[in-house]
Structure formats: C-alpha cells, structure tokens
C-alpha cells in the first residue's frame, strides 16, 4: 500500500514546485500507470517512492509519502531498495557488472544476503524474466529488450513488494516493448507485485491497468482512479480512445474487442480495393523532377555479412517516404550509405544526379540532412544558437551568408525563446529539435530521419509531425525510418518495407501497412474493410456515412 499525503516538492533553484499537493493511494497489488507529458513530474513522483527524491535531487519536500508503512524520506534509497525495485529509462546507464548473473546479484551483495540464500534469489529472478539461457552472457552483447529484462530481474532480486519503472520501453522497438510490458503484466498477476509504471505506449497495457495517475501540465490537480474515469480527462490518447471520445462511445473502450461492440457491422462494408495488393507495384512519383537522392543496386557489407543486398530507391522533392522494417533489417545502414558515412561495395548513390562517391561526407550532408538516432551525440555547445553557428562554421558559412537566418529557423522550430539556453538542459523533444536545427541550417534538399519518435511523448510527436508536414509542403524530400506506424499513417506519402537488406514492399501507406499485421495502425485494425489509417480519416468516413 502506497500513500501520498499532500506531497509538494520543489527542485533546488526551481521557481515552481514539480509536484503540488499530491494526495493519492495506490493499493497493494495494483498495476498503476502514471501518465502525462514529459517534464510534468512523472519521474519525480516515481522517485519519491524509494527516496531518490529528495536524497538524490536536493530541494524541499513537504507532506508525507509512505510505502508499506515506511517513509522513504527518512529511510533513504539504500534501505528502501529492499522494498522498492526501480527500473530506469536507459538500459545502458544502469549496469555495474559485465555478466547477467553478477548484475542481478549486485543488489543482493550490497544487502549482505548470505551466499547460500543468494543463489536462490538469483535463480528466481532469472526464471521470472525468462533469462535462464542468457545467464552467463555479457551484458554488452544483449539487445535493448534483453537488457531491460535484466534490469527488471536485478530490481526483483531482493523480493521487493513494489516495482517502479520509469518509461522502461522508450528506447526499445515495438516488438521488444510489447514483450517487456507482457512480462510486467505477468509479474503483477502471478506475484501480486505492485507495479507503478510511467509509460507512453499505452495500447498494449491499458486493458491490464487498475489505476491511472494523470499529471496535467497546467496547475490542475493530479487525477487518480480507474482508467475509464481518468482517461476522458487526458488530452492526448492512443487513436482508439481518441476516436471513441470523438464519437462519444461510453464506457470508454480499452481494447479493440471492446471497441468493436460500438461498430455496427453494416457500416464497415467492404470496398474491395485491398484484395489485389501487389507489394512491389510501382508507385507514381509525385513529381517528374529528378530525384534528390537515388540509390542503384546498393550493396554494403560489415565484414563477411551483407547488410544491404541490392537496394534501389529514389527520394523526390515534396514527399515523405517512410521506411519500415524489423531491427537489423538494414535501415540505418541504408541511411548511412545515402550520406556517405558508409561506402558501398557495389552500386552507387546519386545526389541530384551526381554520384557521391567522389564527395566527402560534409559536402553530401550540406545537401542531405541526416538526423541520427541519438541527437545528444550532436550537441556540445553552450547555447542553442551556438549549435547552429557551429554547423555553419563547419561549412565555411557565417550567419549572414547562411541560406536561412539561424534565428528564423529556431522560431520555425518553436525554439525562439530557448536560443540562449544550454541545450543539455532541454527536454528530449526540444533537444531533438535543436539537433534538427543544427542539421537544417544549411537548408538541405533532403532530410533523413532515424527513429525520430524514440523517447518522445505524444505532444512532442505531434510537434514533430507538424514540422515534417510543413517542410514537405516547402518541397523538402523526407525519408523517415520509424517503427511508429501511427506517425507514418499520418504523414507518409509512400511506404517502403525492408527485410534482410532488401526492399520487399513499396506502395501507398493504406496498402502496405495493411499487408503486415505488425505494421497495421490501430484504426486500420479496427476497420479492416475500410482504407482508413488515422482517426481523422475514420471520423470523416463514419460521420460521412
């Protein structure tokens, strides 16, 4: 049983409290979901549960938190570690040892558990997270999803009664994320473990959640209660719930099955255009101008293994092309070879008709922007504006000779008021837009993005979506590598699917996305006979009927 009683907490040097008068209970054995935009205090709330706030953050805390009758503020994180297991966002930044078993034993060693009991605890934790086959593996050789499972097992080793997770799937691909969330549901049901989870991917877990805790961005009070009662007050929800709310379905459906009850069978008449889908049917290009970027017969190898096995593709001005595929399909390799970071063994890449083989990366990137997965690797200046100036300087330009004034670009990115701030103090979404600024300041003709929605909340995603649409309308050619099918459904003009280094499908979003069950957006799953992909299309269709 967890209680927050009138908890108000302010970070050191902060003007406003991060948590304001929070009072709520979380019953033992509950599966509680903490929702809200980035920066509203979700992490702060979670860290109150094991005393990291205030012991690790400083600041002032008033009110009272109790976890199973203990006060984390007086006990401190070390003692609370027996009661509360904690899993963090970045799987890379929480490991101490090199092997799975030793990592799980770390907490037990700190707690001075006798050696005899220790092996039983380690075995139990390995088994619960299905890690037995990986027990002797080195952590650096594991995938992101496996690493997070190790992190959960490490948190469970001391048999805590509460498991707290701070956006554990934000760095994972959808498949691993789904597996991880399934594991959490299982732990909650079989062990009676209280789970408190902050998470952006709601589709998978909503049916299993007992309690939703919503932290609004304005000064409105924190909402807590059963999902159906709290969700209607949350502004940005998954497509299914957004649609349900727009159509006034009540009670709010949490799963596709529940939602289907609201759809009368007669309104989903088939329009039989999807039956004759040919995955490699050629698509009319939007424009007859020559391609900005074109690849012909591209083959790239890492050592003996071929990562790209003959890729042909073209990217034209004024379109957004989405590239989908499982992890390791070769998507990032393709992006890197398009800008010359990787040189192909065979085939060639052309930039506006000229082969890039003779150009260096800097020359190519002036015309083709590339946003890598981790935008932090770009940022090191003291202010946001400096980041843009550095790129200009690299290309021998000055703010006055730049194709776009840096301030104008920042305003366009919604960062006008952040120009003099330290980039690393900004939120994930803002940092990403600073990185975009540092890339787009040369006004390239094309932009390649690698997993840009990773770690973003709904609001930051919406901002990114609007930005990409605006740039497309301004004739930029955009190639978007993403697992985020909802974003693709909302923005893409064409979709390509890659598997084992070849493009296996290419076509209009409505056709391609429906052909792969894992890539089908919620709305398309809901209305399998329609060509709708997004809430907007569905609403137009239904209201139109």
């Amino acid at each position: 049983m967890i209680h927050f009683e009138h908890v108000t907490y302010t970070y050191p040097d902060a003007a406003r409290p991060a948590l304001r008068d929070v009072s709520l209970p979380i019953p033992a054995g509950a599966f509680a979901l903490v929702m809200g935009a980035s920066g509203v205090g979700k992490s702060t709330l979670l860290r109150c549960l094991n005393g990291l706030v205030p012991h690790f953050s400083g600041g002032t805390l008033t009110g009272r938190v109790t976890v199973e009758g203990h006060d984390p503020v007086t006990r401190g994180p070390q003692e609370m570690s027996r009661l509360v297991g904690f899993v963090f966002q970045d799987p890379e930044a929480q490991f101490v040892m090199d092997r799975v078993e030793d990592e799980i034993a770390f907490a037990l060693e700190n707690a001075a558990i006798p050696t005899g009991e220790m092996s039983a605890c380690v075995e139990g934790a390995l088994e619960q997270l299905h890690l037995i086959p990986l027990r002797r593996r080195k952590l650096e050789t594991l995938s992101g999803g496996e690493k997070q499972r190790v992190a959960i097992a490490s948190a469970l080793a001391l048999h805590p009664r509460v498991l707290v997770l701070d956006e554990p799937t934000s760095q994972l691909d959808p498949q691993s994320a789904a597996e991880l969330l399934d594991a959490l549901v299982r732990l909650n049901k079989t062990l009676g473990l209280t789970v408190v989870l902050a998470e952006h991917r709601l589709e998978r877990i909503l049916p299993f959640v007992d309690q939703v805790i919503y932290l609004p961005d304005d000064d409105a009070p924190v909402l807590s209660g059963p999902p159906r009662r709290v969700l209607p007050h949350v502004p940005l929800l998954p497509p299914l719930q957004t649609l349900a709310q727009a159509l006034g379905w009540s009670p709010l459906p949490l799963t596709l099955e529940e939602a289907r009850h609201f759809v009368s069978t007669d309104s989903t008449d088939s329009t039989d255009e999807t039956d004759s889908f040919n995955p490699l049917k050629s698509v009319q290009s939007v424009d007859r101008t020559p391609a900005v970027v074109r690849a012909r017969g591209l083959e790239v190898a890492y050592g003996p293994t071929l990562a790209l096995r003959g890729v042909d593709m073209a990217l034209y001005r004024g379109e957004i092309v989405a590239l989908l595929g499982r992890n390791g399909a070769g998507k990032t390799t393709l992006l890197k070879s398009l800008v010359g970071l990787l040189r192909p063994q065979r085939g060639e890449v052309q930039l506006e008709g000229h082969p890039i083989a003779t150009m260096d990366v800097a020359e190519v990137c002036r015309r083709v922007g590339y946003l890598p997965q981790d935008p932090n690797a770009l940022l090191f200046a003291d202010t946001v504006l400096d980041e843009l100036h550095i790129t200009l300087h690299n290309h021998g330009l000055t703010p006055s000779t730049a194709p776009i004034a840096p301030e104008t670009l920042l305003a366009h990115l919604g960062l006008a008021d952040k120009a003099q701030q330290y980039p690393r103090d900004l939120s994930v979404g803002e940092r990403q837009r600073v990185a975009l600024g540092a890339i787009m300041v040369t006004q390239p003709a094309a932009l390649l993005l690698d997993e840009p929605t990773r770690g973003l909340d709904y609001r930051a995603k919406t901002q990114l979506r609007d930005l990409l649409r605006a740039w497309r309308d301004a004739a930029l050619a955009i190639l978007l590598v993403s697992h985020d099918v909802e974003l693709i459904a909302e923005t893409a003009d064409r979709v390509m699917v890659m598997d084992q280094g070849v493009i296996v499908a290419h076509g209009r979003p409505a056709e391609v996305l429906r052909a792969w069950p894992t890539f089908t957006p919620q709305i398309a799953q809901m209305f399998p006979k329609q060509s709708w992909l997004t809430v907007k299309e569905a609403l137009a269709g239904i209201v139109g009927i």
């Binding site: 690790f56 007086t74 090191f380 003291d382």
Partner: protein, 259 residues
C-alpha cells in the same frame, strides 16, 4: 572536521615521503643492497593502500562513484587511442582530465581518476605489469596536487579567464616532465641494476641519473609535457565550463529539514 583534515594532510605528507624514499632509494643506498625491487614493492604498495583508504573515505558519495566509474572508462579509452595511434613520444591524453577534474572536483577525485585510469587501461589492454603501482601512484598524485592551483588562481581572480587556463597548462607541463622523471627513478634500479658497482659520491650519482634520464626519456617527457599544454590550451576552457555546470548536481548531500 578540522582534526580530520589535519590527519588527512599528515597521511598525504607521509605517503609522499614514503614514495619519495622509494623513488630515491637507489640513490640513497648507492648500490649497497640487493633485492631493492621487492622491498620497494612492499613499501610503495603499503603507502598506496594507506593513501587510497584515506582518499576513498572522503570521496565516498554514490554520485562520485558513478561519475568516477564513467570518467575512468572514458579516460582509459583515450589511453587506448594513445597506444593505437603512435603519437609523438610520451604524449598521452590521460593527464588532461586528471588535472582538470582534480582542480574542479577536488584532489581526492583527481587521485582516484588518475590511479584508476591507469589500472583500468592496463586491465583492458592486458598491460598489467610490475610498473603499474608506480604509474598509478604517480598519476594519482597528478590529480591530488591539482587543487594546489586554486589559491593562486583565486588570488588572481582568474576563474573562467585566460590566466586560469595558462596556469593549468603550466601545471600540465611541470607534471609531464615530473611524471617521466619519477617513473625513471622507479625503473632505473631495474635497468642499471643492483649488483653493478654504483658510484658512491652524490655528484657521481647525479651525473649517472642525468645521463640515464637524458638518454632514455627526456624527449618522451618533453612530448608529454607539451602535449598537456596543447590539450589544456585547446580544450581547457570548454571542459572546465562543462565540469562546473555539473558540479552542483554531484556534490550536495541532502540535509533533512528539522521542522
């Protein structure tokens, strides 16, 4: 608190004296005894243990442990680069961070970063050898002594300005040369060796050491010293800014309010 600081200062002083004794041992004994390496290993090892215990006790803060771990990894990888890319002579990028973190985060932090950087890089490249304790001790002292620059810089009101970087660069030059000289002292008893008839007058010893120093390491040490200067001049200012930005987040302890 005051008493503890006095004790700490005593321990630093004594270990420095023991270290100096060990380094100068071949000169003092002037070839009279054999088996110096074993004795020296014993003496240096113990004073290292005492120093490490003292330093660790006061740097014990979970945030510092995490930070030291990660900075040590970064610095050890930089040392990798030094092995992989044959730079000029004894140039090594590891002293840069040791000096700057010692200066900003305190001597104990610098000591641990210095000693552990050499330990970890030896562990990962398989370069553990009998010289390792000497290297660890000396590199540790580079970091431990860096806060000595704080009073003169404060007196000059030079924080965040050019003279600060200048003084740090000078410090890097001095330690670049001193590091080599000290490492030589530890190895020349091996190279020149016991059993060999050693000169007995002080002048002769100095002549011999100078010859040894000039033939074996002066060029290396100059490269190391001026390498430090170049790195500190080029990267010192932005690195100091970054280290200071994070200092506050790492160094506080939570004091519960007595309400």
């Amino acid at each position: 608190m005051r008493g503890r600081n006095l004790f700490a200062a005593l321990i630093y002083g004594l270990t420095a004296a023991v270290g100096l004794l060990a380094f100068l041992y071949p000169v003092i004994t002037a070839g009279r005894t054999t088996n110096t390496p074993l004795l020296l290993a014993f003496v240096v090892g113990l004073s290292f243990v005492a120093l490490l215990l003292e330093v660790q006790g006061d740097a014990a803060n979970t945030r510092f442990v995490a930070l030291l771990g990660i900075l040590t990894a970064i610095n050890a990888v930089l040392r990798f680069a030094e092995v992989a890319i044959p730079g000029p002579g004894g140039f090594s990028p590891v002293f840069f961070l040791i000096i700057l973190t010692g200066y900003v985060y305190g001597g104990r932090f610098g000591f641990l970063l210095g000693a552990l950087t050499l330990l970890v890089s030896a562990l990962i490249t398989g370069g553990v050898g009998p010289w390792l304790p000497y290297q660890m001790l000396t590199a540790g002292w580079v970091g431990l002594s860096a806060p000595l620059l704080r009073p003169p810089i404060r007196r000059l009101h030079a924080e965040g300005r050019r003279p600060e970087i200048g003084l740090l660069a000078l410090f890097g030059l001095v330690w670049g040369l001193l590091y080599g000289a000290l490492m030589n002292l530890s190895s020349w008893s091996f190279i020149v060796g016991p059993g060999a008839p050693m000169p007995t007058t002080f002048r002769e010893i100095v002549r011999l050491y100078t010859a040894f120093y000039v033939t074996t390491s002066l060029l290396w040490d100059l490269a190391r010293g001026f390498g430090n200067v170049a790195l500190i001049l080029a990267f010192g200012a932005p690195t100091l800014r970054a280290l200071r930005r994070f200092h506050k987040r790492f160094s506080f302890t939570y004091q519960p309010q007595t309400a």
